[in-house]
Structure formats: C-alpha cells, structure tokens
C-alpha cells in the first residue's frame, strides 16, 4: 500500500530534484477559488487576459532565472538587461533597421550581458550576488547615459503587433511564453545541459570530479538567463510601445519570488520549470486579487516581499538545513 501511494505520488508530482510540491498546487487552487468568490471581476475574460499579459513578461525572464537558481547561482541583472534590450531594439527600429535585425541584436546584447556575468562568476569566482548586482547597476546606468534618460516611442507596426496581436484569441506574447516553457520543460530533464544544471547546483565539486566542465556550463547557464531576460525586455517594449531606461525596474523581485515560490532551492540542485509556472500563476493571482480589492500598490509591494520571505523560509525548512547553521 505504501509503495502504491509512493508510486502514485511519483506519477503525479514527479520525484527527486524535479518533483512538484503538492502544497504549491493546493495553495494555487485555494487562492483561485477564494478569488472567484471574493470578486465578481476575477473570472472575467478581460481580467484574466490582463493577468496573463502581465505574467508573460516576468514569466519569460523567470524561465532563465529558474535555470540559474537550480544551478546554485543568482541573477539580479535581469531587469536592467530587459531595459537595455528594449532600448537597443527601439533605437534600431527608430533608425530604420528591420524588425528581425533589431530583435536579434537585442538578444545578442542579452547573451553578452549573460556571458559577462558567467565569465566573472565561473572563471573569476566572484560571488553571483555581487557580480549581478554590479551588472544591474552598470547596465541600468549605461542605459540612462546613452539615452540621456529619454524614452523611445516605437512606431513600427510589425513590432507593435507582436505585443497586441492575437491568434485564436490568445495574445502572441502568451503563446511565446508557452513555447518557451515547453522548450525548457523538455530541455531540463532530457539534455546534457539540463542534467548538468542540476548537478552543478547540487554539488559543483562532484560534477567537476565526474568530468563535467563546470565553468563552461556555468557560462552557458548565465547566457541562457541573459537571453531570456532580453526576450522579456523585447516583449515588454512590444506590449507598451515604448522603451525606457527605467523599464522593468524592480522586476527582479517578482521573478525571483515566482521561481522560489515554484520550488527552486536557493541552495541549488532543485526546481522545475513547471513549478516556476505554477509559482507565477499563484503570485500574479495574489497581485490581481489585491488590485481587485483596491489595495494600494505600495502595500502590494509589502505583500510580495512577505511572500518571498515565506517561500525562502519554506525552502529552508524543506531542505532541513536551517538547523545546521
């Protein structure tokens, strides 16, 4: 009987480092039901589409951040990367560059920022928190210096349709998010990259002694995060129709909260992309619930901070290591 229950749990939630926390799913369902009863506007299609659109931007960046956190790292520079990528694409569109080259250039910028983070962390062994905090300041500062603090209005119709267009009623940006999550959900358990993400996060020394080129893979991991952050920045610019050096400021809090809420461990080695998706849904439902209840945005910020603390505390208790320190 015990084995049968264990088998059912495994089939339902997965096992080991890539298991989904049933508590997270239950909490998400409970919040959904509570909101359905608490507000007549919650289940409104218009409201749900707005929640999905708001979720998408954070969600795309959270996919890359999930990989970094599972690998035992951290990236605080995603908000700045998003702004810089959006600014670069908007500038290139403004001077008449085509949509494709502008898109590619912005992704390459994200890759370069990720490569800079990865190189400093993997090869120069600088703490990820400090490296990406410094990068956050550098990139944001440069975005302000180069643009002189001015926003760029995007007029390119093809670009704008990316942010506003729909396919069978589903916004393009939501479809892009779904595709990205499907790709990551396939990559993490089924490729060498995915396996080494978990191994490096679990025990980097053991991974290195097993012949894994940990530095090379760490570089790849931060490049992935830079690329997804740049893509998120492009989606933000497409959705709002403007690119600002101050864009996505503070997005790091939402991104990291969603990832930790989704079950990725700050100690590395654990987490899933599906968990992050559920964490995102829970976080944005709570956000939306607070908005519908007309809670002032400053208080929403306070609530988000508490959610992050609770998620981290839960991670500590779950890993059973909080007593060690």
């Amino acid at each position: 009987m015990k084995q049968l229950i264990e088998l059912m749990n495994t089939k339902l939630w997965g096992r080991g480092a890539s298991a989904i926390n049933p508590g997270l799913v239950v909490a998400t369902v409970v919040v959904f039901i509570v909101l359905c009863f608490a507000s007549p506007y919650f289940l409104n299609a218009y409201n749900l589409v707005n929640v999905a659109k708001a979720l998408v931007i954070v969600g795309i960046a959270a996919a890359g951040e999930t990989v970094v956190i599972i690998a035992g790292g951290f990236d605080l520079s995603i908000g700045s990367t998003m702004a810089a990528a959006g600014m670069l694409a908007a500038y290139l569109l403004d001077i008449g560059t085509g949509v494709g080259p502008a898109f590619l250039a912005a992704i390459v910028l994200g890759i370069c920022i990720g490569a800079a983070n990865g190189t400093l962390i993997a090869y120069f062994r600088i703490n990820p928190l400090i490296t990406t905090l410094a990068m956050m300041a550098i990139i944001r500062g440069l975005a302000f210096v180069i643009s002189d603090g001015r926003e760029i209005i995007i007029t390119n119709k093809t670009w704008l349709s990316l942010g506003t267009g729909k396919w069978v009623g589903i916004p393009y940006i939501v479809l892009i998010l779904i595709v990205i999550y499907l790709v990551f959900a396939l990559i993490l358990p089924r490729t060498t990259f995915g396996r080494y993400v978990y191994a490096i996060g679990s025990n980097p020394r053991a991974a290195r002694l097993s012949g894994v080129s940990t530095k090379k893979w760490q570089l790849a991991i931060y490049i992935t995060c830079g690329a997804t952050a740049a893509l998120a920045g492009l989606m933000l610019a497409a959705r709002t129709g403007t690119a600002m050096p101050a864009a996505a400021m503070g997005f790091e809090l939402d991104v990291i909260t969603a990832v930790i809420l989704g079950g990725a461990s700050l100690k590395g080695g654990r987490g899933t992309i599906l968990g992050t998706a559920i964490g995102l849904i829970l976080l944005f439902m709570i956000n939306n619930g607070l908005t519908l209840a007309q809670v002032p945005s400053f208080w929403q910020q306070v609530v988000k901070g508490f959610i992050l603390l609770v998620a981290v505390l839960y991670d500590e208790i779950r890993s059973g290591r909080s007593d060690d320190s």
Partner: protein, 274 residues
C-alpha cells in the same frame, strides 16, 4: 617469481612479473601549492592487476599523490606514463578516458540527483531524436539497476542519493567507478563511512576486480585495510616515497612496525626490491 597471498587468501602469483611492465609509471612527480611542495620527486610504478597500498601520516602527500593520478591536480613537474605512453592529466576527465577511476573520500556524489544519474554523470548515455541528441534516461536507469543488483545490493536507483544511507552511498560511488570497466581504481580512505560487514563486501568486490586485471591503488590510514588487499605497500613521508614493502614477506605485526618506522622516519629503507 614470488608468490604473494593477501588476507582473503587470493593468490597473486604474477604481481612481481606485472610490476615489471608497469601500467602506470611516475618519475620525479612534483606538486606545489604556492611555496609548499606537497610532492617532491615521487617515483612509483603500478603493474597490471597489482594492488598497491599508500600509507603515510597526515600531510605526508598520499592524497595529493592519488589526486595527481586522478587528474584532480595536474602535476607541477615530472613525467607520468600510462601503458608506456607519456600522458598528462589536466582534469579528471583525462584520467577517466585512460580508464583511471577514483573513489573519493567524501564520495563526491550529487545528493539531489538519483543513483542512476550519479553513476552516469559526465558520461551519459544518449540517443538520437532526429538531429537532436537527448539523454537516454531509461537506458541509464536500467544499467544502473543491473550494476546495483550485480553488487548484491537491493535499492531503487531512481532514489535521490541524499535519501540513501552512508553505506548505500559508498556503494553508489563504487558502482560509478566500476561502470566503465576501469583499468585502474584509485581509492582514498574508502572505508571511512562503512560498517565491518560493508568493508568486507567492499574488499570482496575489490579482489574480484583485481582478479579481472584491474590495478588498485588504495590510500588508507588503516593498517588492516592495507594488509587486507595490497600486494605492495608504499610509505609516503614529506612528499616523497619513504619506503616500500610486501605485506606477506613478514608477519603482520612486523610489517606494521616497519610501516610505522618508515612513516615516522626511524627507518629509511626499501624493503621491496632491496
């Protein structure tokens, strides 16, 4: 030709002969960490199917020596030959590609990965999906389950290593080392976390490997470990080889006394080959 016999009673009549055609030959190996010389001119030969015990005091350089052999530390100087061919191991992968496997003192396992994932880490089985190569998780799980069963053990290879007992983890580390049919097995204090029963099982496996032609290099501070399985004992002191002996040339008590004297520097002689 001299016949040797270890404590398990396994005859190894060819140990001397194989030692003349070394599988591994170290000449003047040095390893420095800044101004500190951890190894200063080590000469050592290990024959095919030979089991060599390395013993020495704390800080003598025995762990550094096996780490140079396993590619964890690239040697600062000297030459290393493998089957007569000069090699240089810059990382553990170089050593593994030459069939040299290591069981580390702390086991070096990823606790969040399952048994099969640990066994195949760094050398995953892959399959093609059109142009894309992906991990063959089923094949790895199947092979790992066979390994564990062949070792006479019974535990789920899809369990996280962090959920296993100390003895089971040790066996995972052994299974990982044996999966790719090594030519040489290096072991650094492998019995540290094991019960007496598990130690006996481990030595049985090691002797079985030896009978299949695998060379063994065992680092241990336990005299009994060394005497159990080794054809030859090498004493390391101050980053150098202080002496060698064969455990069956003398009664165990005398061998232990001689090893202690070599470790402390009271005896500077080479019993073997003298």
């Amino acid at each position: 030709m001299m016949s040797t016999q270890n404590n398990f009673g396994t005859k190894n009549a060819d140990a001397d002969n194989s030692a003349r055609i070394p599988l591994i030959e170290l000449s003047g190996i040095t390893k420095s960490f800044g101004n500190v010389d951890a190894l200063s001119g080590v000469d050592l030969k290990i024959g095919e199917a030979e089991s060599v015990g390395i013993i020495g005091d704390n800080g003598a350089g025995k762990s550094t020596l096996v780490k140079v052999l396993s590619g964890v530390y690239p040697a600062t100087g000297g030459t290393m030959k493998f089957r007569g061919r000069e090699v240089r191991f810059n990382n553990p992968l170089d050593a593994r590609q030459n069939g040299i496997e290591m069981i580390y003192q702390d086991l070096a396992l990823c606790e969040d990965l399952d048994v099969a994932q640990n066994i195949f880490l760094g050398r995953e089985i892959k399959k093609n999906y059109g142009p894309i190569r992906v991990l063959d998780n089923k094949a790895m799980t199947r092979a790992a389950a066979e390994d564990i069963a062949n070792m006479g053990l019974d535990f789920d290879v899809e369990r996280e290593v962090g959920m296993l007992s100390g003895g089971e983890r040790q066996m995972v580390a052994v299974a990982r080392a044996l999966q790719f049919e090594p030519s040489t097995l290096l072991m650094d204090e492998p019995t540290a976390a094991l019960s007496a029963e598990k130690i006996r099982k481990l030595w049985e496996m090691i002797l079985e490997l030896k009978s299949r032609g695998v060379s063994i290099l065992l680092v241990s501070h336990r005299f009994t470990d060394i005497l159990s399985i080794c054809d030859r004992i090498v004493v390391v002191r101050g980053g150098k080889i202080a002496g060698e002996m064969k455990p069956n040339d003398h009664p165990p008590a005398q061998t232990m006394a001689m090893m202690t004297e070599m470790m402390t520097g009271d005896r500077i002689s080479k019993e073997a080959g003298a």
